[in-house]
């Protein structure tokens, strides 16, 4: 049975309309000790089916250990949201894949599904949405900052 109703699919399609660049979702799951991996996999597969600019790559946290480590994923379900493909019109040549370090750990259900859509939009636009003043202040950073946001689906 489909997870999204036709109305929800239409709404999501509208939200994702005109993504400037493709977005690749890389899901790390595992078959044991993961209550939400299967539901997450189905949800993301359906989501990827809504817009041609979205793709889903499924990996196994245990079997694809090296790739998971390279992505900084040590839990399932762990999701990488990265920007792929050619630069948008008027932009200089850009690398094929840009990883901004956006990760979602845990099933993107409830309000977290909205966070996932927000992440997809930001990554596709390659734009944080921050004010010019904030960008200027962040430009002074010389080392990476690991930011974890804890949230619940309700």
């Amino acid at each position: 049975m489909a997870l999204f109703s036709d109305a929800q699919r239409a709404q999501i399609g509208e939200r994702l309309a005109a993504l400037p660049r493709d977005v690749r979702l890389v899901l790390y799951g595992q078959s044991l000790d993961c209550d939400t991996c299967e539901e997450t996999r189905r949800l993301l597969a359906e989501l990827a089916g809504i817009d041609a600019r979205l793709s889903l790559e499924e990996r196994n946290l245990v079997l694809d250990r090296e790739a998971a480590a390279a992505h900084g994923i040590d839990r399932a379900p762990g999701l990488v949201v990265e920007s792929v493909s050619a630069p948008a019109a008027g932009e200089a040549e850009a690398p094929a894949v840009v990883d901004f370090g956006v990760r979602l750990l845990g099933a993107p259900l409830g309000y977290e599904f909205t966070s996932l859509l927000d992440a997809i939009l930001a990554v596709s636009h390659r734009d944080s949405g921050l004010t010019p003043a904030s960008r200027e202040r962040l430009a002074t950073l010389t080392s990476p900052v690991h930011i974890q946001v804890f949230s619940t689906p309700t």
Binding site: A107, L130, L138, L141, V145, I147, Q148, F150, T152, P153
Partner: protein
Amino acid sequence: VSAIEYPDLVRRYRVTGVPKIVMNDAVELLGAYPEEAFIDAVLKAAA
């Protein structure tokens, strides 16, 4: 990070409410703040 699925992380970072933000395991914010406060926190975490 789901605060429901990973009780070990919830314990480690003392997540008593959401949204809780932890930067570089050093700076913590609980609740909503204006953008400027987040930037302050990022710079403090990097220092």
